[in-house]
Symmetry: none
Amino acid sequence: MILEVRADLAPERRERMRNLIRKAGVARVEDLKSDLQVSVATVRRDLEALEEDGRIRRVHGGAVSMESRLEEVVFDDKANLALKEKRLIAEEAFKLISTGDSIYLDGGSTVLEMARLLAGRTDLTVVTNSLRAAAELSESGPRVILTGGELRRLSQTMVGPLTRAILGQVRLDKAFMGTMGLSIDDGLTTTDPNEAFTKSLVQEHARQVILLADARKAGKVSFARVSDLESIDILISDKKFPDKTARALRKRGLKVRLA
Amino acid sequence: MILEVRADLAPERRERMRNLIRKAGVARVEDLKSDLQVSVATVRRDLEALEEDGRIRRVHGGAVSMESRLEEVVFDDKANLALKEKRLIAEEAFKLISTGDSIYLDGGSTVLEMARLLAGRTDLTVVTNSLRAAAELSESGPRVILTGGELRRLSQTMVGPLTRAILGQVRLDKAFMGTMGLSIDDGLTTTDPNEAFTKSLVQEHARQVILLADARKAGKVSFARVSDLESIDILISDKKFPDKTARALRKRGLKVRLA
DNA sequence: TCAAAAACGATCAAAAACGATCAAAACCAA
DNA sequence: TTGGTTTTGATCGTTTTTGATCGTTTTTGA
């Protein structure tokens, strides 16, 4: 049997490259060079293109997949956004809460920052799938209801089909969501399909959906699709959020607030 | 066979470093140097970067993790009475578990001791309403499913009618329960009615119910009734458990084991 | 309290990786 | 085939990363 060794078309080669990086989480330029049988210059150009799409993130020596577990750890907003800016987003979101509201808190560090602001609000009911948010509110404050479900260790959240059981039985006035990726073409995306399932369930269920996403999330695409952008009512981000994307979102009926 | 020793990408290496520190709580520069096969200079630079992200705090000689494990955030283990007895009871209960079992872990410190024994058992599925038990298993080990429900702050458990939603959807081979009171006349009792509700729900649902109760619980009666004694299959207690009560229980068909 | 030992930060040079540039190769439509 | 465009790989100066060195600070233990 002879393996046909034929030069790839560029898009085909990039797709292979993307898969290689996604599978390993990270990849070195040198490895990609020998795997794909091209020069380093071509590897770099392809990486540049893939980064443009938000599929990967280049680092010195290679690239990290934006569709893997590692990126969540390496590039989550905790690492990349100053605590101060994250707080601004959370405080802006906090203003939206009314007396007696029943609100949902998603996983993610920006939403977690918001949980800290709720410690004194005994008038609220907080529904959450995030153990960290629950921990934050475990001393005092609002009534806390946990969704239940399968524990996802990395994010310390409860996800998957079982979350439907309780979510179907509670009213949610406002849902404050986080996300890994926010793209005009691909909508909201996250790393884990079970997590995506739970997120979309909440968004269908809540009367008003508020997305908390720092500017770095704009244009990013992660692995599992959550929903399209239409299911969001309000986006809260920071000043660095790209104008072009903000305009496109407003055109689609979303309110966009930059804290 | 040759082990390929290839250099890590910086983000990859930092991620490994972060995990090493988080797992151990603290780490010395020298240890990290040999673990990661780099110079001390590089270790220091990486530590600097991780500190910048707020993931660790540098100290003279190394670094300590700022990513406290969940249980440390949520709970400080208070003075645990009769810890030794509880451990013995937990170990006795642990022996009852079979490969592949789906088990329920109730709240309470005795059952929590048991959770600690399950860290390595990836063959199991653990269903629990206890945030402390979940925290104990949040690093690794069995598949963890949380029941959801309203957070009861004092016991850090999820209780009330909402727990029915998920409990109705899972199979429980063995339920390991705790209790506040165990009385021949009044059966099992606990402090909170919502908690009592959830306990009784589990006991109806599980194929086998195993009660973990140290001798001090014998004869005690608390506020909210959980169930009568017939719903228990096996009682595990310690040597101090009163003979008279044990005989009465055996007469009613319970197996009694004193660890 | 003081001196030795350990750890530290700053600095520098070598190595690796990078981006820009340009010519050759491949491709495509006429 | 021809002329024009796109893609590729090599070259080269620049930037980033790394490990070693050295003087300074902190810790240790007598």
